[in-house]
Symmetry: C2
Subunit: 264 residues, 2 copies
Amino acid sequence: MSPGGGALTVTGLRELPEVHPGSDLAALIAAALAAMHLALESGDILVVAQKIVSKAEGRLVDLKGVVPGERARELAAIVRKDPRLVELILSECTEVVRARPDVLIVRHRLGFVMANAGIDRSNVTAGAGAEWVLLLPTDPDGSAEGLRTALAARCAVAPGVIISDSFGRPWRRGVVNIALGAAGIPSLLDRRGERDRAGRRLEVTQVALGDALAAAAGIVMGEAAEGIPAALIRGYATPAGAGHAAGVCAARALIRPLEEDLFR
Amino acid sequence: MSPGGGALTVTGLRELPEVHPGSDLAALIAAALAAMHLALESGDILVVAQKIVSKAEGRLVDLKGVVPGERARELAAIVRKDPRLVELILSECTEVVRARPDVLIVRHRLGFVMANAGIDRSNVTAGAGAEWVLLLPTDPDGSAEGLRTALAARCAVAPGVIISDSFGRPWRRGVVNIALGAAGIPSLLDRRGERDRAGRRLEVTQVALGDALAAAAGIVMGEAAEGIPAALIRGYATPAGAGHAAGVCAARALIRPLEEDLFR
């Protein structure tokens, strides 16, 4: 027997080819769906790894062209990282949150508190002699919205789109995927005013749905060599009885504002 | 068309009845699965909300019997919470991490950094005049192992079991579910030594699979009146080519040790 109706399904898009700068992600995703005999349906959500969005958008920098300044060299000595990489990280962030050997946690100028400003060396194919690294998309919510629109034009259905990235957490080991950008699906469900079975107001009022969807997709996408850079989530239904559950789609709603930060 | 083979499915156990102190959770879950025409298969994972595990284990305390001490009364004035609740929170924790109006983040004696030591007022049916609150299970990994064993005895298959709870995050809004306890499924995947497509060592070496599975289940379980307190996850496969991916099952492996905490 198999799980019946009402189940959420998470399917990795195994047929997605290597992405290059300038690649048309919507076209590649539509082709990968077709190769798996999947057609987008209303309510479908596509979770796409930040890496391929950044790559398609050409957010590659060759470390060989980066000259580290004095601050980057000093910080690099503390965190034991490549001074050129640290230079790039500093140029992407507004604040160094923690710097310890092997750890550089910063506030990205988009607001994310994350390791290395999200700059990644892995999974970027090296060109002849170049040392490419990947920066975050300039506007992840905008990238998600663009992908949603482009997919709607190809598939006649506008899916929810989440751009995901793996984040560490201060008090928990291991990374989980979170929503860096989103469109067409509520990233943050606001459930203030709802009541529990006993009629009491809910103590938990805001649910990070975008992050949960990204984490779910991360289970099939993986991190390593076998990494599948996109997944289709089907069967998500807005909570029952939640006509009053307002939602904000843009993933920037998931970023806690600076003035609420108790851990600077 | 529907998602083909290789998909992960997440199914809420809608038929689970109200749980009471002393309830046989394995029996209730087995009955709920049967009512949905589901039989446990090898590789299946059950995610169960902390609330029903705590309730079945009788971890209820009547606030009416709690007398707040001086420290609890002082702290309660700062955080604007019931002094009796604060007394209980203090008795469950080893350290107050942050105390601000409406915020009390502590290190639970099990190691979790969390709001209110995980003590919950909602969804607990009030008895005659009593004000029940629910504490975390004494040993969530042990609870998961016990449930796994009891389900194996009933269903001839030993599922992975995760006990989940919703956690806030310091730099992100909204809660997501994490793994409070686990058995029979690697909570923390250790991927050191694996390489990416370009042959480089992975920068991300530890994956919080238990937390991702809990988050995925949380999407169908919900938080509110319609809350479904358990979900079945089917189709999870250990990463391909990851014969060297060692895993630790107990969810306590997900707790970052005190000496690695950069945000005390």
